[in-house]
């Protein structure tokens, strides 16, 4: 990846950060369900 301006770098990294934040929210929810799936109470 080549970045010629700071703006290009920011747009690239922030775009991916927003996408992965969405992935993280969904994954953490699934992770919680997996972790507590067999709790008795």
């Amino acid at each position: 990846m080549e970045f010629y301006t700071m703006l290009e770098f920011d747009i690239f990294t922030k775009n991916w950060a927003y996408i992965f934040m969405g992935v993280a929210v969904v994954t953490m929810l699934a992770w919680w369900l997996f972790l507590t799936g067999r709790d008795e109470d």
Partner: protein, 392 residues
């Protein structure tokens, strides 16, 4: 009192494998200490101008502090969050933390030398603009707090009721103070490396290093409590009372679940570090391999195994996972302080610890084990003293 053999203070023989090995290590440690304090750092270490901090900081201090985090996590769970089923784990965790921090300070003497000046940064000349001053102040205060938290055990052993009862009343205040101090210095240890943006590999350098250090200390502490509990059950089973034995499964499953949850969060915030700095290009390199091994092998894998252990009620799996997690924290702290640090240097200038340095580290750990054994076999750590039952 139950029929457990609490007061078997020992007609056991002095010559045991543990005593012989520990004795030899202590003799070696005394000799190396003599070399260090008469010949200086050069006599026993491979430290130089490129690497002023070596294995004593990486292991004895960074790992020591992270793995001693079980003290604040357990005390906070029991006294601040009111999860009383973890009560049986508090005293062993506080003892481990107290000894851990005491040994951090002990080991620091080997690095800084001139032990009579150890108190200078606190009482004589405060460098209030330095992160290291904040770390020093917090460790000084937190070691005092841990000493006070641990003190009821020897006071019960010595039957000094009045002082003991005053200290018990301070438990909540001390716990809160301990959590605040831990939050501050666990993160500040990561903040120490913020001064090195050009010397540290980009995969580990981040302005969020303090957050990474603090969050990882939480699951390091939880894993260490599980690990320490496994060893204690093996060697001190006959010292444990009913409450301790019944409370252990709650601690194992509860702490494994908490660790799995925190590790998942930690995995993501570390991952966002790669994303926000666009560090993808470094991943197919040696450093990328080390970083991926750390994140996948020592964070994601133990998180999954903890979760699997909790779901399947598999104590054995959780105990082995705690070993992996503890090793993972050691791996992370070594990666930050030695592997990522000075990554641009040619290999002939890189640091590798001298045998004497490793010897002193083994000596420090052995002193900790001896003290733990001495206290664990004599004081009410794994059982409630019959005269103070239910009063804390």
């Amino acid at each position: 009192m139950s029929n457990h053999n609490h007061h078997d203070t020992g007609k056991s023989p002095w010559i045991t494998p543990f005593n012989v090995i520990a004795g030899l290590i202590v003799l070696m440690g005394i000799y190396l200490t003599y070399l260090r304090f008469t010949g200086g750092l050069a006599a026993v270490t491979n430290l130089d101008d490129y690497y002023p901090w070596g294995i004593w900081i990486s292991f004895d201090l960074l790992c020591g502090v992270a793995l001693a985090a079980g003290g604040y996590t357990t005390a906070a769970a029991c006294y601040v969050f009111g999860i009383k089923k973890y009560h049986a784990a508090v005293r062993p965790a506080v003892l481990t933390a107290f000894l851990g921090y005491a040994l951090v300070v002990f080991a620091l003497h080997y690095d800084v030398g001139q032990p009579w000046r150890l108190a200078y940064p606190i009482f004589v000349q405060q460098g209030t603009t330095s992160v290291l001053f904040e770390v020093g102040l917090c460790v000084f205060l937190y070691l005092t707090v841990l000493f006070l938290e641990w003190l009821p055990a020897p006071l019960e052993w010595l039957r000094l009721k009045r002082v003991r009862n005053i200290l018990i009343k301070l438990t909540l205040v001390l716990t809160i103070f301990g959590v605040i101090l831990s939050t501050m210095h666990q993160s500040s240890l990561g903040a120490l490396y913020l001064i090195l943006p050009s010397k540290m590999h980009p995969l580990w350098y981040s302005t969020h290093l303090p957050v990474y250090f603090f969050v990882s200390s939480m699951f390091a502490g939880l894993s260490m409590v599980i690990f320490e509990s496994t060893l204690s059950h093996r060697y001190y089973h006959n010292k444990m009372d009913k409450e301790h034995l019944e409370g252990t499964p709650h601690v194992t499953f509860g702490f494994a679940k908490a660790a799995a949850w925190i590790m998942a969060g930690y995995f993501f915030i570390k991952f966002f570090g790669v994303v926000l700095n666009a560090n993808w290009g470094y991943l197919p390199t040696f450093y990328g391999f080390m970083f991926s091994l750390e994140m996948l092998g020592f964070v994601a894998l133990p998180a999954f195994l903890y979760a699997k252990g909790v779901r399947d009620k598999n104590v054995r799996l959780i105990k082995w996972t705690a070993v992996v997690a503890v090793f993972g924290i050691i791996f992370n702290r070594f990666n930050v302080s030695l592997v990522a640090y000075n990554y641009h240097l040619p290999s002939e200038l890189k640091y590798f610890p001298a045998l004497a340095e490793i010897g002193i580290t083994i000596f420090v750990v052995t002193v900790g084990l001896i003290l733990f054994k001495f206290i664990g076999t004599r004081m009410p750590i794994f059982y409630e003293h019959p005269e103070f039952k239910g009063s804390h």
